[in-house]
Protein backbone atom coordinates (compact mmCIF):
# COMPACT_ATOMS: atom_id res chain seq x y z
CA UNK A 1 0.00 0.00 0.00
CA UNK A 2 1.26 3.42 -0.88
CA UNK A 3 0.46 6.47 1.16
CA UNK A 4 1.41 9.91 0.04
CA UNK A 5 2.47 12.38 2.68
CA UNK A 6 -0.43 14.39 3.92
CA UNK A 7 -0.39 17.97 2.83
CA UNK A 8 -0.29 20.06 5.92
CA UNK A 9 -2.77 22.83 6.19
CA UNK A 10 -5.27 21.46 3.72
CA UNK A 11 -8.51 20.26 5.20
CA UNK A 12 -9.80 17.21 3.40
CA UNK A 13 -13.24 17.56 1.89
CA UNK A 14 -15.79 15.58 3.86
CA UNK A 15 -18.22 14.41 1.22
CA UNK A 16 -21.91 13.75 1.56
CA UNK A 17 -22.33 10.05 0.81
CA UNK A 18 -25.39 8.28 -0.53
CA UNK A 19 -26.10 4.69 -1.44
CA UNK A 20 -28.22 2.78 -3.91
CA UNK A 21 -28.66 -0.99 -3.65
CA UNK A 22 -28.60 -3.37 -6.60
CA UNK A 23 -30.45 -6.61 -5.97
CA UNK A 24 -31.82 -9.50 -8.00
CA UNK A 25 -31.29 -13.18 -8.64
CA UNK A 26 -28.15 -15.18 -9.17
CA UNK A 27 -26.10 -14.11 -12.16
CA UNK A 28 -28.57 -11.48 -13.33
CA UNK A 29 -25.86 -8.87 -13.85
CA UNK A 30 -25.63 -6.98 -10.54
CA UNK A 31 -21.84 -6.87 -10.40
CA UNK A 32 -21.73 -6.03 -14.09
CA UNK A 33 -24.10 -3.11 -13.52
CA UNK A 34 -22.04 -1.78 -10.61
CA UNK A 35 -18.85 -2.14 -12.64
CA UNK A 36 -20.35 -0.35 -15.65
CA UNK A 37 -20.62 2.96 -13.81
CA UNK A 38 -18.19 2.65 -10.90
CA UNK A 39 -14.94 4.59 -11.00
CA UNK A 40 -13.30 1.77 -9.07
CA UNK A 41 -13.29 -1.93 -9.80
CA UNK A 42 -16.13 -3.29 -7.65
CA UNK A 43 -14.79 -4.00 -4.15
CA UNK A 44 -16.01 -6.66 -1.81
CA UNK A 45 -17.00 -6.20 1.78
CA UNK A 46 -18.19 -8.78 4.26
CA UNK A 47 -20.03 -9.01 7.50
CA UNK A 48 -20.63 -11.80 9.94
CA UNK A 49 -24.16 -12.31 11.01
CA UNK A 50 -25.34 -14.42 13.87
CA UNK A 51 -27.74 -17.16 13.04
CA UNK A 52 -30.33 -15.63 15.32
CA UNK A 53 -32.21 -13.91 12.54
CA UNK A 54 -31.66 -16.62 9.99
CA UNK A 55 -34.73 -18.14 8.44
CA UNK A 56 -35.33 -21.65 9.69
CA UNK A 57 -36.20 -23.24 6.37
CA UNK A 58 -33.05 -25.32 6.50
CA UNK A 59 -31.99 -26.45 9.94
CA UNK A 60 -30.26 -29.65 8.98
CA UNK A 61 -26.51 -29.40 9.02
CA UNK A 62 -26.33 -25.90 10.36
CA UNK A 63 -26.47 -26.71 14.06
CA UNK A 64 -22.75 -26.39 14.52
CA UNK A 65 -22.43 -23.11 12.69
CA UNK A 66 -23.19 -19.96 14.63
CA UNK A 67 -22.38 -17.32 12.10
CA UNK A 68 -22.82 -16.76 8.43
CA UNK A 69 -20.91 -14.44 6.17
CA UNK A 70 -22.76 -11.99 3.99
CA UNK A 71 -20.80 -10.30 1.24
CA UNK A 72 -21.60 -7.33 -0.92
CA UNK A 73 -19.70 -5.84 -3.76
CA UNK A 74 -19.75 -2.14 -4.15
CA UNK A 75 -18.65 0.60 -6.44
CA UNK A 76 -18.24 4.33 -6.13
CA UNK A 77 -19.21 7.30 -8.26
CA UNK A 78 -17.77 10.64 -7.25
CA UNK A 79 -20.34 13.07 -8.57
CA UNK A 80 -18.57 16.05 -7.10
CA UNK A 81 -15.71 16.41 -4.72
CA UNK A 82 -18.26 16.71 -1.94
CA UNK A 83 -20.90 14.29 -3.21
CA UNK A 84 -20.25 10.56 -3.54
CA UNK A 85 -22.69 7.84 -4.55
CA UNK A 86 -22.03 4.22 -3.56
CA UNK A 87 -23.65 1.27 -5.27
CA UNK A 88 -23.99 -1.96 -3.31
CA UNK A 89 -24.66 -5.17 -5.21
CA UNK A 90 -26.05 -8.10 -3.28
CA UNK A 91 -24.60 -11.48 -4.17
CA UNK A 92 -27.30 -13.60 -5.76
CA UNK A 93 -26.05 -16.94 -4.54
CA UNK A 94 -26.32 -15.74 -0.99
CA UNK A 95 -29.77 -16.52 0.29
CA UNK A 96 -29.27 -14.42 3.38
CA UNK A 97 -28.30 -11.04 2.07
CA UNK A 98 -31.59 -9.60 3.26
CA UNK A 99 -30.56 -10.26 6.85
CA UNK A 100 -28.12 -7.46 6.43
CA UNK A 101 -30.86 -4.97 7.08
CA UNK A 102 -28.60 -2.12 7.89
CA UNK A 103 -27.35 -2.14 4.35
CA UNK A 104 -30.77 -0.97 3.26
CA UNK A 105 -31.08 1.47 6.11
CA UNK A 106 -30.60 4.94 4.79
CA UNK A 107 -30.44 3.81 1.18
CA UNK A 108 -31.70 6.36 -1.29
CA UNK A 109 -33.31 3.61 -3.30
CA UNK A 110 -32.70 0.35 -5.09
CA UNK A 111 -32.49 -1.31 -8.48
CA UNK A 112 -34.00 -4.77 -8.76
CA UNK A 113 -32.47 -6.43 -11.78
CA UNK A 114 -34.66 -8.96 -13.52
CA UNK A 115 -34.00 -11.51 -16.23
CA UNK A 116 -37.17 -12.27 -18.20
CA UNK A 117 -36.14 -15.92 -18.55
CA UNK A 118 -36.42 -16.36 -14.78
CA UNK A 119 -38.42 -13.51 -13.38
CA UNK A 120 -39.20 -15.42 -10.21
CA UNK A 121 -35.58 -14.99 -9.12
CA UNK A 122 -36.23 -11.37 -8.24
CA UNK A 123 -39.44 -11.90 -6.24
CA UNK A 124 -37.54 -11.91 -2.94
CA UNK A 125 -35.88 -8.58 -3.69
CA UNK A 126 -39.15 -6.97 -4.80
CA UNK A 127 -40.86 -8.17 -1.59
CA UNK A 128 -38.03 -6.91 0.52
CA UNK A 129 -38.05 -3.36 -0.82
CA UNK A 130 -41.84 -3.18 -0.88
CA UNK A 131 -42.05 -4.17 2.78
CA UNK A 132 -39.45 -1.68 3.84
CA UNK A 133 -40.94 1.06 1.68
CA UNK A 134 -37.61 1.62 -0.03
CA UNK A 135 -38.14 3.22 -3.45
CA UNK A 136 -37.01 0.86 -6.18
CA UNK A 137 -37.11 0.50 -9.93
CA UNK A 138 -37.07 -2.78 -11.80
CA UNK A 139 -34.36 -2.97 -14.42
CA UNK A 140 -35.03 -5.64 -17.00
CA UNK A 141 -31.60 -6.79 -18.07
CA UNK A 142 -31.76 -7.51 -21.78
CA UNK A 143 -29.59 -10.54 -22.25
CA UNK A 144 -28.89 -11.52 -25.84
CA UNK A 145 -31.23 -14.25 -26.87
CA UNK A 146 -33.85 -13.47 -24.25
CA UNK A 147 -37.28 -12.46 -25.43
CA UNK A 148 -37.90 -8.75 -25.21
CA UNK A 149 -40.99 -8.52 -23.08
CA UNK A 150 -42.62 -5.14 -22.91
CA UNK A 151 -42.17 -3.48 -19.57
CA UNK A 152 -45.90 -3.77 -18.90
CA UNK A 153 -45.77 -7.55 -19.11
CA UNK A 154 -42.98 -7.58 -16.55
CA UNK A 155 -44.91 -5.24 -14.31
CA UNK A 156 -47.92 -7.54 -14.35
CA UNK A 157 -45.87 -10.67 -13.83
CA UNK A 158 -44.22 -9.08 -10.80
CA UNK A 159 -47.51 -7.61 -9.57
CA UNK A 160 -45.88 -4.23 -9.17
CA UNK A 161 -47.56 -1.09 -8.01
CA UNK A 162 -48.35 1.21 -10.95
CA UNK A 163 -45.93 3.82 -9.61
CA UNK A 164 -42.88 1.52 -9.72
CA UNK A 165 -40.82 2.27 -12.83
CA UNK A 166 -39.90 -0.69 -15.02
CA UNK A 167 -37.05 0.02 -17.41
CA UNK A 168 -35.19 -2.03 -19.96
CA UNK A 169 -31.43 -1.92 -19.61
CA UNK A 170 -28.19 -3.58 -20.46
CA UNK A 171 -26.05 -3.95 -17.35
CA UNK A 172 -22.91 -3.78 -19.48
CA UNK A 173 -23.81 -0.42 -21.01
CA UNK A 174 -22.77 2.54 -18.96
CA UNK A 175 -25.30 4.83 -20.62
CA UNK A 176 -28.31 2.65 -19.88
CA UNK A 177 -27.10 2.01 -16.33
CA UNK A 178 -26.78 5.76 -15.77
CA UNK A 179 -30.40 6.13 -16.80
CA UNK A 180 -31.53 3.38 -14.47
CA UNK A 181 -29.81 5.18 -11.60
CA UNK A 182 -31.36 8.50 -12.58
CA UNK A 183 -34.73 6.74 -12.60
CA UNK A 184 -34.08 5.50 -9.06
CA UNK A 185 -33.32 8.99 -7.78
CA UNK A 186 -36.27 10.54 -9.61
CA UNK A 187 -38.55 7.83 -8.27
CA UNK A 188 -37.23 8.39 -4.74
CA UNK A 189 -38.00 12.10 -5.13
CA UNK A 190 -41.50 11.34 -6.37
CA UNK A 191 -42.12 9.00 -3.45
CA UNK A 192 -40.85 11.63 -1.03
CA UNK A 193 -43.02 14.28 -2.67
CA UNK A 194 -46.05 12.03 -2.32
CA UNK A 195 -45.49 12.27 1.41
CA UNK A 196 -44.21 8.79 1.76
CA UNK A 197 -47.63 7.32 1.24
CA UNK A 198 -47.14 3.58 1.65
CA UNK A 199 -47.65 1.63 -1.53
CA UNK A 200 -51.21 0.44 -1.84
CA UNK A 201 -51.68 -3.29 -1.73
Amino acid sequence: MIFGRPERGTTPVEPVTLKILVAGGFGVGKTTLVGAVSEIKPLRTEELLSEAGRPVDDTRGVETKNTTTVAMDFGRITLREDLVLYLFGTPGQDRFWFLWDELATGALGAVVLADTRRLEDCFAAVDYFERRAIPFVVGVNCFDGADRYPAETVRQALDLDASVPVVLCDARERETVKHVLIDVVEHAMAVAAAGRVPAST
Binding site: E14, T17, L43, T45, E47, K65, L79, T105
Partner: protein, 131 residues
Amino acid sequence: MSADGQESAHFFDADAGPVVRPYAMTRGRTTSPAQHRLDLIAVVVAESRAHDPGADQTLSPEHVDIVALCRDTPQSVAELAAELDLPIGVVRVLIGDLVTAELVHVTRPVPPAELPDESILRDVIDGLRAL
Protein backbone atom coordinates in the same frame (compact mmCIF):
# COMPACT_ATOMS: atom_id res chain seq x y z
CA MET B 1 -3.28 -16.63 21.97
CA SER B 2 -4.33 -19.08 24.63
CA ALA B 3 -1.55 -20.91 26.42
CA ASP B 4 -2.71 -24.45 25.90
CA GLY B 5 -2.37 -26.42 22.69
CA GLN B 6 -6.04 -26.97 22.05
CA GLU B 7 -6.94 -23.69 20.48
CA SER B 8 -5.78 -24.50 16.99
CA ALA B 9 -8.49 -27.07 16.43
CA HIS B 10 -10.98 -24.67 17.87
CA PHE B 11 -9.94 -21.50 16.09
CA PHE B 12 -9.03 -22.95 12.76
CA ASP B 13 -12.21 -24.86 12.29
CA ALA B 14 -12.93 -24.81 8.58
CA ASP B 15 -16.23 -23.04 9.06
CA ALA B 16 -15.28 -20.53 11.66
CA GLY B 17 -11.63 -19.88 10.88
CA PRO B 18 -11.34 -17.11 8.36
CA VAL B 19 -14.42 -15.27 9.45
CA VAL B 20 -14.32 -15.41 13.22
CA ARG B 21 -10.62 -14.99 13.74
CA PRO B 22 -10.53 -11.29 12.79
CA TYR B 23 -12.51 -10.54 15.91
CA ALA B 24 -9.42 -11.51 17.92
CA MET B 25 -8.11 -8.15 16.72
CA THR B 26 -10.86 -6.40 18.57
CA ARG B 27 -10.25 -8.61 21.64
CA GLY B 28 -13.61 -10.20 21.02
CA ARG B 29 -15.51 -6.95 21.05
CA THR B 30 -18.25 -6.69 18.51
CA THR B 31 -19.44 -3.26 19.52
CA SER B 32 -17.75 -0.12 20.64
CA PRO B 33 -19.26 2.65 22.75
CA ALA B 34 -18.19 5.36 20.33
CA GLN B 35 -19.30 3.76 17.13
CA HIS B 36 -22.99 4.80 17.02
CA ARG B 37 -23.55 1.89 14.67
CA LEU B 38 -21.47 3.30 11.87
CA ASP B 39 -23.10 3.16 8.50
CA LEU B 40 -21.21 1.52 5.65
CA ILE B 41 -21.02 4.87 3.92
CA ALA B 42 -20.11 6.91 6.98
CA VAL B 43 -16.88 8.71 6.16
CA VAL B 44 -13.83 8.44 8.42
CA VAL B 45 -11.61 11.52 8.51
CA ALA B 46 -8.19 11.60 10.15
CA GLU B 47 -7.66 14.36 12.70
CA SER B 48 -4.73 16.60 12.00
CA ARG B 49 -2.95 15.39 15.14
CA ALA B 50 -3.01 11.88 13.70
CA HIS B 51 0.03 12.36 11.50
CA ASP B 52 2.10 9.74 13.29
CA PRO B 53 -0.26 7.15 14.73
CA GLY B 54 2.53 4.55 14.65
CA ALA B 55 4.04 6.27 17.68
CA ASP B 56 1.03 5.33 19.78
CA GLN B 57 1.92 2.03 21.43
CA THR B 58 -1.67 1.18 22.27
CA LEU B 59 -2.67 0.99 18.62
CA SER B 60 -2.62 -2.21 16.60
CA PRO B 61 -1.19 -2.25 13.08
CA GLU B 62 -4.77 -2.30 11.80
CA HIS B 63 -5.57 0.89 13.71
CA VAL B 64 -2.50 2.50 12.20
CA ASP B 65 -3.52 1.31 8.72
CA ILE B 66 -6.94 2.89 9.07
CA VAL B 67 -5.49 6.24 10.09
CA ALA B 68 -2.97 6.08 7.27
CA LEU B 69 -5.68 5.32 4.70
CA CYS B 70 -7.88 8.17 5.90
CA ARG B 71 -5.13 10.73 6.14
CA ASP B 72 -4.96 11.57 2.47
CA THR B 73 -8.55 11.04 1.54
CA PRO B 74 -11.47 10.51 3.87
CA GLN B 75 -12.72 6.95 3.36
CA SER B 76 -16.05 5.25 3.86
CA VAL B 77 -16.34 2.38 6.33
CA ALA B 78 -17.04 0.02 3.42
CA GLU B 79 -13.91 1.12 1.57
CA LEU B 80 -11.77 0.65 4.66
CA ALA B 81 -13.15 -2.84 5.22
CA ALA B 82 -12.52 -3.80 1.61
CA GLU B 83 -9.04 -2.29 1.60
CA LEU B 84 -8.03 -4.02 4.86
CA ASP B 85 -9.93 -7.20 3.94
CA LEU B 86 -11.68 -7.29 7.29
CA PRO B 87 -15.33 -7.81 8.17
CA ILE B 88 -17.32 -4.60 8.55
CA GLY B 89 -17.97 -5.34 12.23
CA VAL B 90 -14.26 -5.52 13.00
CA VAL B 91 -13.56 -2.29 11.19
CA ARG B 92 -16.37 -0.60 13.09
CA VAL B 93 -14.85 -1.54 16.43
CA LEU B 94 -11.39 -0.37 15.36
CA ILE B 95 -12.82 2.94 14.13
CA GLY B 96 -14.62 3.31 17.46
CA ASP B 97 -11.27 2.97 19.23
CA LEU B 98 -9.77 5.64 17.00
CA VAL B 99 -12.70 7.99 17.61
CA THR B 100 -12.22 7.53 21.37
CA ALA B 101 -8.52 8.23 20.95
CA GLU B 102 -9.47 11.34 18.96
CA LEU B 103 -7.35 10.27 16.02
CA VAL B 104 -10.27 10.26 13.59
CA HIS B 105 -13.79 11.57 13.42
CA VAL B 106 -16.70 10.20 11.48
CA THR B 107 -19.17 12.15 9.40
CA ARG B 108 -22.69 10.86 9.57
CA PRO B 109 -24.45 10.02 6.36
CA VAL B 110 -28.00 11.14 5.90
CA PRO B 111 -29.98 9.75 8.84
CA PRO B 112 -31.85 6.55 8.06
CA ALA B 113 -35.53 6.90 7.21
CA GLU B 114 -34.90 10.40 5.98
CA LEU B 115 -34.29 11.31 2.41
CA PRO B 116 -31.60 13.84 1.73
CA ASP B 117 -32.66 17.32 0.70
CA GLU B 118 -34.32 17.59 -2.63
CA SER B 119 -31.48 19.86 -3.70
CA ILE B 120 -28.96 17.09 -3.02
CA LEU B 121 -31.05 14.64 -5.04
CA ARG B 122 -31.13 17.16 -7.90
CA ASP B 123 -27.37 17.37 -7.67
CA VAL B 124 -27.14 13.58 -7.84
CA ILE B 125 -29.28 13.50 -10.98
CA ASP B 126 -27.25 16.28 -12.59
CA GLY B 127 -24.04 14.52 -11.61
CA LEU B 128 -25.19 11.24 -13.11
CA ARG B 129 -26.27 12.96 -16.33
CA ALA B 130 -22.88 14.58 -16.61
CA LEU B 131 -20.95 11.31 -16.23
